[in-house]
């Protein structure tokens, strides 16, 4: 029984996805074989509002939700020939397309974070924007370079760092061993780490 709806009569189609799976699969087949616009309109009529409400829940933004609907339905139109009824129902296939598009959109949104922030569309994300300086360091510095920088520390600081980080001693043990006050060990450690950090930041 083919009882689809068209945009014109605009009555909600309340059937469950599985109850119209065979019908939708047949429409997909005609779209694939004949580029049948009437069939695609039936598919669109059933899935577009459902996708919109899913997307709205997921993305929380009308414009982005509609982008997801548009991209998903474009894929259905373009790739109907890839639908294989033996592998699953039309709703599962379309849901999978929407899921993958959502995933790509989120990635792009994250990459576009700064643009979005400047437009003040999604202020929450601004706080998570990484320090651009940190990123350039990440790309440039290797562990070996840390080793080299370590060797350029003053001898007194190097001794303290070596004892604590490499030999695994406590600051008190280092103080006892070197016969210096605990406070001195602490300040040398702090200075050495600060120095390494400064060197890393200016290193190219």
């Amino acid at each position: 029984m083919l009882i689809g709806i068209t945009l014109e009569n605009n009555k909600p189609d309340v059937r469950k996805p599985k109850d119209c799976a065979a019908e939708m699969a047949a429409h997909l087949d005609t779209v694939a074989k004949e580029r049948c616009k009437a069939s695609f309109a039936k598919i669109f009529g059933y899935f577009a509002p459902r996708l919109r409400s899913y997307a709205l829940k997921q993305m929380g933004n009308e414009a982005i939700a509609m982008e997801l609907v548009q991209d998903t339905m474009s894929n259905v139109w373009q790739k109907a020939h890839l639908f294989n009824a033996e592998k699953g129902s039309p709703s599962t296939w379309i849901f999978t397309i929407a899921r993958n598009i959502r995933f790509d959109m989120l990635r792009k949104l994250q990459n576009r974070k700064e643009d979005i922030c400047s437009d003040d569309m999604w202020p929450v994300l601004c706080e998570q924007t990484a320090d651009p300086k940190e990123k350039s360091l990440e790309e440039k510095v290797t562990l070996q370079q840390v080793g080299e920088l370590f060797n350029s520390l003053p001898d007194k600081q190097k001794a303290v760092i070596e004892a604590i980080y490499i030999e695994g001693k406590s600051q008190q043990e280092v103080a006892d061993e070197l016969n210096i006050p605990l406070g001195t060990v602490k300040s040398r450690t702090r200075l050495a780490l600060q120095r390494l950090k400064d060197m890393l930041e200016t290193h190219d």
């Binding site: 309340v14 577009a48 509002p49 899913y54 999978t96 994250q110 990459n111 290797t142 490499i166």
Partner: protein, 222 residues
């Protein structure tokens, strides 16, 4: 033989489209390699698509959709593009690795390999967001110093075998590590081992010289 899989809960969240992009990617790559999990995902997806579309709005309001339908139908069809996707190959030092299909599309976002100490190589993958993704290659006898995790680390073995003092892993194995796990990944195989890993916070090194780099570990592993 794949022995370590995502939990059913993770597969379920992935199937429902509720997972963050980077996590989705690594789960999806595991499913490319693991028929068993791919099967589960197919079942969960079927169930979710049924529920999601059943619970959602059923009315096609023309004021919301405007001319979207006619616009879509004016699009040209390019059937040629959809031939069987081929797998990308990742190259390092003359070695070639075939990537799982899900990672294919990121092959262009893979940065240069850098050589770290301990016979390990690292190539960052630009994923966007706060998660850091890396391919890590351990040469024979190479490994990452003993560490625990400030956040969560997800790892997929793309090619090869390694051990970390907790278990032995083989191609396709997937594991999640967090602050409760201390491990020392190391490979003994002649071919070395390539893994894909994502972390959301820097590692914390727990022994030896590597503790020295803790204050800076975010520079290397996050």
């Amino acid at each position: 033989m794949i022995n370590f899989h995502p939990s059913n809960q993770q597969l379920d969240i992935f199937s429902n489209g509720l997972m963050a992009p980077a996590e989705s990617l690594i789960i999806s790559a595991h499913c490319d390699m693991c028929a068993q999990c791919a099967e589960k995902v197919a079942l969960y997806t079927e169930a979710h698509s049924e529920t999601v579309f059943d619970e959602s709005s059923q009315k096609l309001d023309p004021s919301l959709f405007g001319n979207m339908l006619s616009q879509i139908m004016t699009q040209e069809i390019d059937k040629g593009i959809d031939s069987e996707p081929t797998n990308s190959v990742l190259e390092l030092d003359g070695r070639k690795f075939t990537l799982p299909r899900s990672l294919n599309r990121f092959s262009e976002s893979i940065g240069n390999w850098s050589h770290l100490v301990g016979k390990i190589w690292q190539a960052p993958v630009n994923m966007g967001g706060d998660v850091v993704a890396n391919f890590i290659f351990m040469e024979k006898g190479g490994g990452v110093p003993e560490h625990t995790h400030r956040g969560t680390e997800m790892t997929l073995v793309v090619n090869g075998e390694f051990s970390d003092g907790l278990a032995d892993y083989d191609s396709g194995d997937f594991m999640v590590m967090d602050g409760k796990n201390i491990h020392t990944p190391l490979t003994k195989s002649d071919e070395g081992c390539l893994v894909f890993s994502i972390i959301d916070a820097p590692l914390h090194f727990t022994s030896g010289w590597a503790r020295l780099i803790n204050p800076f570990s975010h520079l290397f592993f996050k």
